[in-house]
Subunit: 395 residues, 2 copies
């Protein structure tokens, strides 16, 4: 039988990264393509203890239906935490707990975008979010980035010329895939443009806590006097992605619509995982765990950057990073990027071709993304050596 | 600020049942309005043991990112289980694990319905699913039910006259809210209509295992030679709703689209809960647990029907049930249903007004739904006594 699908999904494809993961599943392959936390990053003992405690003291609450907005103690703790840590949460704001930050992208696009409306994003940007927006038939407009974040002139041009722009999707800290962090000046400028054009901002901040060097920069949401910013947080990089818990702070009216949509989507987020997140934040040393992660990833990021300097410079360049899990590399013009990525796979090293992160994958692109959190140090050394040899051969 | 929402969600409202839950949250109130499993129904000891084992033997797999299709061992076990138990799963079918059965409703509507397309459902039907379909701006067409399931003549009339019917949404076993079970003859007739008009069926079967009396009736999906049926299963009523795990068996092409949509919605379902479901199904006495639940709920259902006979007959009538968690009662014409439900709340008993389950809530309706799984026996006795007195006073 031939099935007819809705217009919004008929052209939707699995993410290009998923296709690469098929190669990466081969245990002989060194995968620099994932975005997974390091296996060392999980507080297994704490989560195990918490889980035992839940089933000893409060099993029915963990197993019964719960409310869509989120486990009440976690929700109210996150409100306090966001206020204290980031000065986030005005009187007009509310908070919803979601099944990972990814769900916020879906709920926001569903609530805000009619088919054909425009979403502005950084180019390149996180493919998972772009695919969420695409799944509601939003038109994506990618705005190029400078080394200190989105190009403001081109952003304003997009806001002036694109029709029905519903929101700008931005990852200000250690952006995936570029590793770029938006400067304070640009954050202020972006917020001013949001005000000027009456356009909302989705500020996605999964990597914000993973700063290894440099100074903390205030979030755009902390400047939000007008109710224009939808802030998205996640436990995936600071506790566990497998538990699928994220959250969103946004104006009450927007959160209310998200709650109704979430009710029809999954009723509520797995309650055990919300309890685990709450207990870990409040009864364990959450800040200490974040410091541990910063130290763990700083070491691996430094190793990776040293390896790139040693084996890939000067032909292949990259932006040094101050945090996050990704580094974006740029090939010289005499190397075909797609060929390079394919050849790398044949030599058992997986990287992600940069065009996967563009709003139009057919655009010319010399970029590829590497990750350093998932592989062991030995794999990083071997993998970058192989990439270095390959680049020299292809030059 | 005034926010503009998408057309598809601008008229979306929280479910009427949620509003009632606000009253039901008062500990003084006897809630006959929920659909929660009994607190006694949860295999707490087993889940606690499984959870400990997971964090001892396989913690990283439980906490790391996983694949969208579902935890591989659970997925393949569910395929076998569905085949053995229900003869479900043709060569053209595949299976996806979802964040509760509710997510299947969202993924199906998203994948299959353009805005304005028609979804046919039983009238009354499960409000959570109806709201999922509404959230993609599908037009709902409710077809009345007889005591043996949907009225076939009126169903065919709807298939002939409604535009762009994308699927029929049916709950053949112990339907929520009516408690009605569709006869084998009607299941066959419905499938023939699906073939004749080339319209898909969503067969939602959350209560199928909770049969207390009468004979097993084959699922519609077991008759599916043409790839027309999307079957939906759930652990919510046989293990735990708080873990949010359901599944869907449907033709591969439909599952593929659901996978892409789910990737953008929550990446994958909480992996710990999928491991718990898998371990409980394969290492514990899952069939024995289902028998235990059948006995538990049979007792409560019998008590409830006896109480209704004693206190509400003959003015208030109801369909006797053979399984599931709900009984639908019908008030005589001289009692205003909305007034009755409001007066009941004032006397600290919550029931759900029947119009909440209609595609058009403003239609005249004399029905109200009661549940017997969540309250204690003492609460059931006291609650129905109060309803009985109220009905007599209002007659």
């Amino acid at each position: 039988m031939n099935y007819t699908f809705s217009d919004r999904v008929s052209n939707l494809k699995p993410s290009a990264i998923r296709e690469i993961f098929k190669y990466a599943a081969d245990p002989q392959v060194i995968s620099l393509s994932a975005g997974n936390p390091s296996p060392e990053a999980f507080p297994v003992k704490a989560i195990s203890e918490i889980s035992q405690k839940i089933f000893k003291e409060n099993p029915i609450a963990a197993l019964q239906y719960s409310v869509t907005e989120g486990y009440a103690p976690l929700r109210s703790h996150l409100k306090e935490y966001m206020k204290e840590k980031h000065n986030i949460g005005a009187a007009f704001d509310d908070l919803i707990v979601t099944s990972g930050a990814q769900q916020v992208m879906d709920l926001a696009a569903k609530s805000l975008c009619n088919e054909g409306d425009t979403v502005i994003c950084e180019a390149p940007s996180f493919i998972g979010s772009l695919n969420s927006f695409r799944s509601y038939n939003a038109k994506l407009c990618g705005v190029p980035m400078d080394s200190d974040g989105i190009n403001i002139e081109k952003l304003e041009n997009a806001l002036q010329t694109k029709k029905n722009v519903r929101f700008m999707y931005l990852i200000p800290n250690f952006q995936n895939p570029s590793g770029i962090t938006m400067s304070l000046e640009k954050r202020k400028a972006v917020y001013e443009l949001a005000k000027k054009y009456g356009v909302l901002i989705i500020e996605d901040n999964p990597y914000g806590d993973l700063r290894y060097s440099g100074e903390y920069i205030p979030t755009i949401k902390s400047m939000d006097t007008e109710g224009l910013v939808i802030y998205v947080g996640s436990f995936s990089k600071v506790l566990s992605p497998g538990i699928r818990v994220g959250w969103c702070v946004a104006p009450q009216q927007i959160i209310s619509k998200m709650v109704v949509c979430k009710q029809g989507q999954d009723v509520h987020t797995n309650i055990w995982s919300q309890m685990v997140a709450y207990e870990f934040m409040t009864k364990y040393d959450f800040d200490g765990h974040i410091t541990f992660l910063q130290n763990l990833y700083r070491k691996k990021a430094d190793l990776m950057m040293n390896l790139l300097d040693e084996h890939l410079a000067p032909q292949v360049t990259y932006n040094r990073i101050n945090g996050g899990l990704f580094i974006m590399c740029q090939l010289p013009n005499n190397i075909n990027m797609t060929d390079f990525c394919k050849q790398a796979v044949l030599r058992k090293v997986c990287v992600v071709p940069g065009n996967a992160f563009l709003t139009d994958e057919s655009q010319p692109c010399q970029l590829f993304r590497v990750n350093f959190s998932t592989p062991t140090d030995e794999q990083l050394i071997k993998g970058v050596e192989i990439l270095g040899k390959l680049a020299k051969e292809m030059c």
